[in-house]
Every structure is written in C-alpha cells, then in structure tokens.
C-alpha cells in the first residue's frame, strides 16, 4: 500500500523475529482496555492498513474540517456580533468563493477515495486459503466447523457466565471454546446462520461479516501475531445479543497441531458434531 510504511513494517517484522521468536509466549491481548480511545491492536496487514487509512487520512480530515468550522463560527460571532458590527453587509453572492467551497471538498474526497478503494479490494478479494473454517451462528452462540483435512469436527462456542469465569478472563466477551487458528496462514471464514441475522466480527483482524440464513458469506484474515482476539455478535439478534462473544486464539503451527489432536478427541465424541455433518469445505 505504501512503500515507506511497508519498508518500516518489514524492518519491524525482522526485529520482531529476532526479539520475539525465542520466547513464543509474547501474546497480543486483542480486546478492549479501560479508558482507551483508539482501535484495538491490529494483527493482520489489512487491519494495519485500515487503521493507517483512518488515523492518517480520515482522522486528520474530519478533525481538520470540524475545527475549521468551529474556528470560523467563533471568529464570526466575535467579529460580526451586533455590537462589533452594527451595520450588516448586504453581500449575498461571491461566485469564486462558492466555486471554491464546492471544489475543495471534492478534492479532499478524491484524496480519501484512492486508498479507500485500494483497501476495499484488498479486503474483498480473498486469496487462496490455507484453512477454511465454517462459522454457523444461532441464537445465541457460535459454532466453528473445521474441514476434513483438519479432522472434520465442529464445536459450539458459548458465553461464559460471570460465576464460571477464571480470574484473568474478561466478563461478557469470554467464550468457553475459542476458535483456534495457526499464525501466518490465510484463513477463510465462511459464515452463515441457522435462524436470525448475526454478525461475525473480530476487530483486530479488521473483519466483520453478517451471518445470514440461506446465505454463505465469506471473509478472510492472516494473523501475524499470536494471542487471544475478542469480538462480539454485531447485529441485533434477540435477548442474548450482548452475550454472543467471539474468541479467536492465534497460535504457532506446532501449538495448532497439538490443539487439533486434543480437539479431535474432545469434540468428535460430542453430539455437537451435528453442524459439521455437512461442512462445505473440502480437504
């Protein structure tokens, strides 16, 4: 997207490999923090590009325009109030000015549009996936289905009630079984719903896609860092809409394979497999 920032990112990545690789436990906490005002930590290239686009193009434009209008209001009220300016002018036209304030916003929009369209294509053109996971929403939980190549199992991911939380688990956004994916791999997520519309969202990956009955929606991510990432159902879906957490744990390939062995044992034996009975994914 941008040469300079790509170069910096490559440099940082090299640094990260040197510093972080030895201790593989350096995990990202991909959830909200108290009092924060910014985006959640980005761990995909798409999310980084999105946040760069917002923070360096959209945010300066929005703050700039708002402050310009506020400044003009304050100046005008100070300079042209009835004590300072008892006799009003009668000027009601200025062709050049009107032309300028029509064209200038249009130019700002062009500056915004170029990176916006590029980013949109990056998001929506899905590269060949290394792993496809089927996500099925229903009132009020998620079900994650893994393809036959990974063992062909599926499991429900349920909200953890306050009394069952472990000390380090955040309230409301913690699920009992998280989706587990390997780091650095292209993961395609195929999303659908069994009843009403839900929405699958993981802010740190920069993805959000509606789960719609009768439709199969696709999105993708490639997480560059390991850690635990939190999202929530993002479409009103009934009384427990607030209690449909999405937890994704990104792990190293070795840890992923170890998890697969355990998961196959744990979930194959449960009748939770029902949703995996007809997975859309092939090996």
């Amino acid at each position: 997207m941008r040469v300079s920032s790509d170069a910096i990112r490559a440099g940082l990545a090299a640094l990260a490999v040197a510093l972080v690789a030895p201790k593989a436990e350096a995990q990202v906490f991909g959830g909200p923090k108290p009092g924060e005002i910014g985006f959640l930590p980005p761990v995909t290239e798409i999310a980084e590009n999105m946040f760069w686009f917002h923070n360096w193009i959209l945010l300066p434009a929005t703050i700039g325009i708002s402050l310009l209008v506020l400044g003009l209001i304050v100046y005008i009220v100070w300079r042209f109030n009835e004590t300072a300016n008892p006799v009003p002018s009668r000027r009601t036209h200025n062709g050049l000015l009107e032309f300028a304030w029509t064209v200038a916003p249009a130019l700002v929009l062009v500056v915004i549009a170029v990176p916006s369209f590029r980013l949109l294509a990056e998001q929506l053109i899905i590269p060949a996936p290394d792993l496809t996971i089927k996500v099925t929403a229903s009132q009020w939980h998620w079900n994650y289905g893994y393809p036959k190549s990974e063992g062909g199992f599926a499991f429900d991911s349920l909200y953890v009630e306050d009394k069952d939380l472990k000390p380090d688990q955040p309230r409301v956004i913690t699920a009992d079984h998280e989706m587990v994916v390997p780091v650095g791999k292209v993961i395609e997520v195929d999303v659908t719903s069994q009843d009403v519309i839900h929405s699958f969202s993981v802010p740190s990956f920069g993805i959000k896609i509606d789960a719609i009955p009768g439709r199969l929606n696709k999105t993708w991510f490639k997480a560059d860092q390991i850690g635990m990432f939190y999202g929530q159902c993002s479409n009103i879906c009934g009384i427990d809409h607030a209690f449909m957490p999405i937890n994704v744990r990104v792990v190293s390939q070795a840890d992923y394979e170890a998890w697969l062995v355990e998961a196959k044992k744990q979930f194959a034996s449960l009748d939770r497999v029902r949703l995996a009975a007809a997975p859309l994914v092939n090996p």
């Binding site: 108290p34 910014g38 999105m50 959209l58 209008v69 009601t92 036209h93 009107e98 959000k208």
Partner: protein
C-alpha cells in the same frame, strides 16, 4: 409592509370570526392549518418526552457494567423481574426509542408542526390545499402511535412482551422466526399507518406549494423553509411506498405463509434490507432537510442579512435529496455485497459530502459580515451548524466501506447518527421552535431560560455522544444491554452526559409552563429588522384565517432572492 398587515386584519375581521369552532370540535374536526400544526407540535413534544425518558432509562442501564435497571423496570412494567425479561425489555426500549423519535417526534415536529403552521404563512396561502386530508394525516398518526403502544404489551418473542428487533425491522428477527408473537405485527401496522399519514401530508404540501403561492412569490423567491418542505415532501412521496411494499411483504410472510424474506421458501432476508434502506436512507434526509430550511431562515434573521448563495442552497437541497435515493446500500456493507457494488455505494455516498459542504459554508457566509444577535433561536442554529458538521464528517468516515467494516454496528455509528439527529435535527427543531413560538402563541418565552436550555443540552448531549466514538473504536457493539468492564469508563461519561441532557429537557418543560403562565405579549415581530419573511407581518398569534386576500410580493420577479413582503427587493 404596513399595507399588507392592515389588509389581513381587515380581511379577517370582516368575514371570518363569526363561526370559529370551539372546544374539542375545534381540534378533532380541524381543517385549519394552524390548529393542525399546533396538534402536531403538541403530539411531537409528548412523543419526544416519552422517547427521552426511554433513552434516559437506557443510559441508566449502561451507566455501569452488569444489569441493574431493567430487571427493576421489567418487574414494575410486566411483573417479570427475571434476567431474560429484562434483556428483552431493553431491546424493546431501544427499538421503541428509535421509532418514537423518528416517526413520532422529528417528523411530526418538522413537517406536521412547522410545515403546517408556516408553509401557508410563508408563501402567502390561506391554508393547505387539502384541509380535510390534513386532518386525516394527523389523526392517522395518532392511530399509528396507539398501535405502537399496543405492541409494547403484546407478546413478541415467546413469553416476552414487545418487539425488540430494532427500528430497522430486519427479518428473520421481525418474522415469525425471531418474533412469533403479534408485537411485530403491531409495529408493522403502526409504521404502515405512519407512512400513509406522511404520504397524505406530503401530497398536501406539494399541491400547496406548487399552486397556492401568492402573486409574485415565484419558486425562486420562496423562503428556504418552504423549499425544504417541498423537497422533503417529494422524498416522502417517493420513499414511503417502497417501505409500504416491504412491510406488506413482511406482514404476509408473518401471517399468510408467503416467503419473500424466508430462505427456506426461496426468499431472501437481504431483499428486505434493500427495500428498507431504499426508504430509510431518504428517510434520514427527511429528518434533517426541513431543519436545513429552518436553520437557514433563523441564521439570516439573526445576522440581519439575506441568506448567502440562496440558489446554491436550493440546488444543494435538491442534490442531497436526489443522491439520497442512490446510496441506500451503504448501510449494508457487511452483508456480503460484491466488490463492485460496494465501490459504487462508497463513491455515491461520498459525493453527498459536496452539497452538504455547500450548505455549511453558505450558513457561515450568511453570518459573515452580518450583525449577529445571539438570541435563543440563533444559539440553537449555530449549535446546529457545528454538531451537524461533526456528524457529517463521521458520515464521510463511515462512507468508506473499508473502514465501515470495522465501525459498522459499533457505538461509532450510534455517535454518528445521534450527532446528525439527536443533536442536528433536534437542534434545528429547537431553533425553529424558539424562532416561531412567539408568532404561534403570541407570547414571549424567558430568553434566559432558553439560553440555559441550550447550554445545558449542548454540554450534556455532546458529553453523551462524543465518547461513543471512542467506544466504537474499541469495538463495543451497539444494542447491547451489558458490556465488558473495559468499556465502563466512557459509558459512565456518556450516561452522565445523557442525564445532563435530560436536565436540559426539564428546563424546556418549565420554560413552556412559564411562557404560558406569564403571558408576555410578543407583538407582530419580536426579532427586529432581520425578520423579513411574510409571517412577521401578521399579528401574533395570527388570526384563525390569514392571507384570504393574497399579499402582493413586490420586486423584480427574476431576482433570485427571498421575497420580502411589501418591500422592493434590494438591488
């Protein structure tokens, strides 16, 4: 100017004061645009207070993590204090809050209230074109509101009362899958009636403005408020039938086993979203465009200067209205639309920023060089220009599908549309209310109280909604009854802001009481030389019938400048 005023006095006294209806007949059977306007305003104020109470209760629940308020409310209202009943009631409350504020507060206040009152006065017409339709339009809205209230007490989800699927009514949440009980039917029928009421009203406005302008009041000499009502009426007329179609399909899906939106029968829930937003995006402009008109007139009056770039202002409104029909799917970027469809809707949506910018800069240019008096209507209008700009630029952010993917359905969106609606549209309504209150009632209000109302509301509502941008960046989804502890701080700030805003509303209620009790007479024109439109040449309150002899509008008929009664237009 004097001759016009005298004419109207004479006219009224000579012919029409002998059969004024009185008591309940006057309002129930009313065909008088002023009485119907008053009914609409009273209705909008009542609905607005109900909607405000709902929002205060919602913010009270969100003051802290956990569920504290709604179990209590639910126990009081339905006798069921269980956690599930409380969650359901929360959903019912935010859904009702939206429907009430949109259909029963902003629309009745702007179109029904100020539109009915002021359009005939501003264009020199004796009344609306179809006075009986006007009556029907109002009372249909009352019936619609009663249906909505019924839905609160009907069964929705199994064992629960009310409809909690949001004002957007997306199936399957609103079909028998999500809401098997009749609560959803009541909401659908309520919106049907509200739609019929608005279609009738908009036909009336279009006929009135096209046919009943006083001699000399050419289209391009009309003040900007009638222009904004005309544009809005066309939006309503074209958008509401689409909503009616979608609602009818939803009704037959629910009751007669059709499957328009039911995938099992070959239907598609996304079809509803397309139809709904084809209505509802114009709808959000319906909620703000009359505000543009009111703010334009208020800014011009209190700057003692004609509006800057009048023709540009008219064309900007037309452009916004036209584009408003071409951008609906920007509410649906996460539904899985194709890349090309998303590209188009990003592009079309961003284009709207251009005419919107023209309006904001024209308001500033109207004030520039003026002789500004900061009386209450002007305070609200200036406040409008600022908060509308803030809400507008976050709209440009959301127009970019690439970043909307993150912010969609988070509190950022809640902040955005409350900046344009709860601050923007509502500020413009208060600007209009404080501007025309002396004309409509004949009484002055306490300007000190009105300024307190403004400042308390401005601080409170900004405090309530600005932090919601931060919550959105942190990923907090909207329409949730409970949230994780990390969101606690900004939610508390937001709730405190909402309570301060609520206190502002109490000031407003007291101000009304005080104004009617003190009976300070306003006189024909309390705003001085800046108030040049026709209504200020009439007595306050205006007699029951006005402009039975049309006022003559002097001046060069080609001049693109607002008409000034009884004066030669400048230059």
């Amino acid at each position: 100017m004097a001759s016009v005023t005298d004419l109207s006095h004479h006219d009224v006294e000579a012919h029409h004061e002998h059969h004024l209806p009185t008591g309940w007949r006057r309002f129930l059977y009313s065909t008088n645009h002023k009485d119907i306007g008053t009914l609409y305003l009273v209705f909008a104020i009542c609905a607005g207070l109900i909607g405000t109470v709902l929002s205060i209760i919602i913010r009270a629940e969100l003051l802290e993590p956990g569920m504290h308020v709604f179990p209590l409310i639910s126990a009081i209202m339905s006798g069921d204090g269980s956690l599930d009943a409380a969650k359901n009631m929360y959903n019912v409350f935010f859904s009702s809050h939206a429907i009430i504020m949109i259909f029963f507060m902003v629309m009745p206040a702007m179109m029904g209230g100020f539109g009915n009152w002021m359009v005939p006065l501003l264009i020199g017409a004796p009344d609306m074109a179809f006075p009986r339709l006007n009556n029907l339009s109002f009372w249909l809205l009352v019936a619609s509101f009663i249906l909505l209230m019924c839905s609160l007490f009907a069964e929705g989800s199994p064992g629960m009362r009310g409809f909690g699927g949001g004002w957007v009514l997306y199936p399957p949440m609103s079909s028998t899958v999500g809401t098997p009980g009749p609560a959803a039917d009541f909401v659908i029928l309520s919106m049907h009636l509200a739609g019929a009421s608005s279609i009738i009203g908009s036909i009336n406005f279009i006929a009135t403005i096209f046919n009943m302008r006083a001699p000399g009041m050419t289209m391009f000499r009309m003040p900007l408020f009638p222009w904004s009502v005309l544009v809005t009426a066309f939006l309503l007329l074209l958008a509401l039938p689409v909503l009616a179609g979608a609602l009818t399909m939803l009704l037959t899906d629910r009751n007669f086993h059709t499957t328009f939106f039911e995938p099992a029968g070959g239907g598609d829930p996304i079809l509803f979203q397309h139809l709904f937003w084809f209505f509802a995006h114009p709808e959000v402009y319906i909620l703000i465009i009359p505000g543009f008109g009111m703010v334009s007139q208020v800014v011009a009056t209190f700057s003692k200067k004609p509006i800057f770039g009048y023709v540009g202002m008219v064309y900007a409104m037309l452009a916004i209205a036209f584009l408003g029909f071409a951008v609906w799917a920007h509410h649906m970027f996460t539904t899985g639309m194709s890349l090309n469809a998303q590209r188009y809707f990003v592009f079309a949506t961003m284009v709207i920023a251009v005419p919107t910018g023209v309006k904001v800069f024209s308001w500033l240019a109207t004030m520039w060089g003026g002789s500004i008096s900061l009386r209450p209507p002007m305070l609200w209008a200036i406040g409008f220009v600022f908060v509308f700009t803030v809400g507008g630029v976050t709209g440009v952010v959301l127009a970019n599908a690439a970043i909307d993917r993150y912010l969609h359905d988070t509190y950022y969106v809640v902040a955005h549309f409350h900046y344009v609606m709860s601050l923007g549209a509502v500020f413009s309504i208060f600007a209009g209310f404080y501007y025309w209150f002396p004309k409509m009632t004949g009484y002055l209000y306490d300007e000190r109280l009105a300024k307190w109302h403004f400042w308390v509301s401005f601080v409170g509502i900004n405090l309530a909604f600005f932090p919601q941008h931060f919550l959105g960046f942190q990923g907090m989804p909207r329409r949730v009854v409970d949230y994780t502890e990390a969101y606690a701080f900004w939610n508390m700030v937001s709730s405190i802001g909402a309570f301060i805003g609520g206190a502002g509303t109490l000031i407003f209620v007291y101000l009304l009481y005080d104004a009617f009790k003190a009976k300070r007479l306003a006189g024909d024109n309390p705003w001085g030389p800046g108030a040049t439109t026709l209504e200020w040449t009439l007595p306050s309150p205006p007699p029951f019938h006005t402009w039975e002899t049309p006022p003559h509008i002097f001046g060069d008929e080609d001049a693109h400048a607002p008409a000034i009664a009884g004066q030669r237009s400048p230059a």
